[in-house]
């Protein structure tokens, strides 16, 4: 009884402070969990060693749900609760028999995108663990040994969007083999390399029979989010690799490390962003024909008709999550802007690796109103990062808490940070 009273008191205390920028009950870590942040922002480590933590969702009660890339401690979803209101998770349970990346709430259900299907579990208010009654929402998604993740998001009209990456670099006949030509048309695009739309409330939908290929020409999008204020879907593409390795006569190692740009895409029904035929050159700011399709690094060809990105990022830095910020904790300029978690590169070698950070992009309406800026850095713990194995942590997922805090996951060690704005400090 005493315990329940205490709990009640704590809940009241927190709710009294919600909406204010003061974080009275939560103290950030003195080292911000190893992160470097803009002035007046601070951070704490919510949990550690959760397994390969990919995407993350936080519900209205502050409970945290994280998709895991492999089963860990018997589950594919880590469920976290802070029962003492210090911001640190002290109740951690594992749930679900699938592993994967996609995770999102819709209509009192937790949806989970494993590598081959989308399932959902009913949520019971107040209970940390979802209800065991698993339902299959989408089935028959292709198994990929490359780009296997099936991230997902919802619009406000009851549609579910699932990204299906291509198990390929540039649709060569023999995958990632020097000298092998690009297939034209690329048959992979029928079931891969795009974003598929399904009904959120319909069960056992088949990708081909029931799904709509909403957009195509996207090699692999792990970061996908619906911007509710603009009623528009956005995603980021992992661009192609190995230009120098396969075409040393056209690209040197440096060019191969800097090409092509990672792309922020405004996705509309029918969009075609050009993969595998095209890639985006951030220097000339245009899509050019890939060398597998006869391109020489400057020829545009069919790419003139493809959709361009709305913002370009450095090559190979691997955008793994996107979040449009709607909380009331961060200052005005962050409202409806985009946070993007970059996993960091592996394919810039022998150049140093880059991009182990979370960035912010200010938005006005549907498009960016300024250039991107690094928001949270220091995840790698070393500088420079010569090899990805040197990086201590790699950002992978983003979520907004009910108070407007920003949560970031890492899939190397399974750490979760909570970033807060507190001008009083």
């Amino acid at each position: 009884m005493k315990f329940i009273n205490l709990l009640l008191l704590a809940v009241v205390f927190v709710s009294c402070n919600s909406g204010s920028h003061k974080i009275n009950t939560i103290t950030a870590d003195s080292d911000n969990g190893g992160l470097t942040l803009p002035e007046d922002f601070c951070a704490l480590v919510v949990a550690d060693d959760l397994g390969p933590a990919r995407h993350i969702q936080v519900n209205d009660q502050g409970d945290i749900y994280i998709s895991l890339n492999r089963l860990h401690k018997g589950g594919g979803i880590a469920c976290l609760r802070d029962t003492t209101n210090d911001g640190r998770a002290d109740l951690i349970q594992y749930f679900g028999r699938h592993h994967g990346t996609g995770i999102a709430f819709w209509n009192n259900h937790l949806y989970f995108g494993s590598d081959t299907l989308v399932v959902r579990y009913p949520m019971v208010y107040g209970q940390l663990l979802p209800h065991d009654g698993e339902e299959i929402v989408v089935t028959g998604l292709p198994i990929n040994n490359q780009h296997a993740a099936k991230p997902l998001t919802f619009d406000q009209a009851g549609n579910l969007y699932v990204t299906v990456g291509a198990p390929s670099n540039a649709c060569m006949e023999q995958t990632r083999t020097k000298g092998s030509p690009g297939m034209d048309p690329c048959p992979l695009l029928e079931r891969h390399g795009g974003i598929w739309q399904f009904r959120a409330d319909q069960l056992k939908q088949d990708q081909v029979e029931d799904g709509l290929r909403y957009a195509t020409g996207i090699r692999h999008a792990v970061a996908v989010d619906w911007n509710g204020a603009e009623n528009t879907l956005y995603a980021l593409q992992h661009g192609r690799d190995q230009l120098h390795q396969f075409f040393p006569e056209l690209y040197d190692e440096k060019q191969s490390a800097e090409l092509p740009a990672e792309e922020l895409l405004l996705v509309e029904e029918g969009s075609d962003f050009g993969w595998p035929y095209c890639y985006y050159d951030p220097i000339t700011q245009q899509k050019v024909l890939g060398p597998e399709y006869g391109g020489d690094g400057t020829e545009v060809g069919v790419c003139a008709a493809k959709d361009d990105p709305i913002l370009a990022f450095p090559a190979h830095v691997a955008p793994n999550d996107l979040l449009f910020y709607t909380g009331d904790m961060f200052p005005e300029r962050y409202q409806n802007g985009a946070f993007i978690a970059f996993h960091g590169s592996w394919n810039r070698a022998p150049e140093v690796q880059e991009g182990y950070y979370v960035v912010f992009v200010p938005f006005e309406g549907k498009i960016p109103s300024g250039d991107w800026e690094i928001f949270a850095d220091g995840f790698a713990g070393v500088s420079p990062v010569n090899s990805p194995a040197d990086a201590q942590y790699r950002p992978c997922g983003l979520a907004q808490g009910p108070d407007g805090s920003l949560f970031v996951t890492d899939d190397v060690k399974g750490r979760v940070w909570r970033i807060m704005y507190n001008p009083a400090n």
Partner: protein, 152 residues
């Protein structure tokens, strides 16, 4: 911070080396203090000639397995001592047929794809396997062209 100083010194040594247009024995010695460069040293034969497998490694393997052979967590396994590197036949098979799907190396799970490298000559395959088996902390016997030819 110490690391920063170290890299600054390394950069200085590197710049010195490239200005003079030749790499002195002294430079090589300096570099060998960097554990990242150990692979280069072990991959260099006594007379200073680079191992013939090193060029093959740099051209076909480095992008994924990295300069220091550390690989990419979750995707491409490291080439430091492990049960796969120790198995000659397995290494030859990997080069000829490639590999895809989930594997476990030194207790860590990797899930990606390595394309077949059967377009390389027997000599190139023997060279690069031999190079890997004597680099990145490995000290294992070389593989011969004949062994590759027999498996092909």
């Amino acid at each position: 911070m110490r690391q920063f100083y170290f890299y600054s010194i390394m950069l200085f040594v590197f710049v010195l080396g490239s200005c003079s247009g030749k790499k002195s024995a002294n430079n090589n010695q300096e570099q060998s203090e960097n554990p990242k460069e150990l692979s280069d040293v072990t991959g260099t034969q006594a007379l200073g000639e680079p191992h013939p497998g090193k060029a093959v490694y740099q051209k076909y393997c480095l992008t994924c397995h990295q300069s220091d052979g550390s690989g990419v967590p979750g995707m491409f396994p490291p080439l430091s001592p492990n049960e796969w590197i120790a198995d000659k036949d397995k290494m030859i098979e990997l080069m000829l047929n490639g590999q895809s799907g989930e594997i476990t190396v030194n207790g860590e799970v990797y899930n990606s794809l390595m394309p077949a490298h059967d377009f390389l000559s027997d000599e190139q395959i023997a060279d690069v396997i031999s190079y890997v088996r004597m680099s990145f902390g490995n000290d294992l016997e070389a593989v011969s062209q004949e062994e590759v030819a027999a498996a092909r």
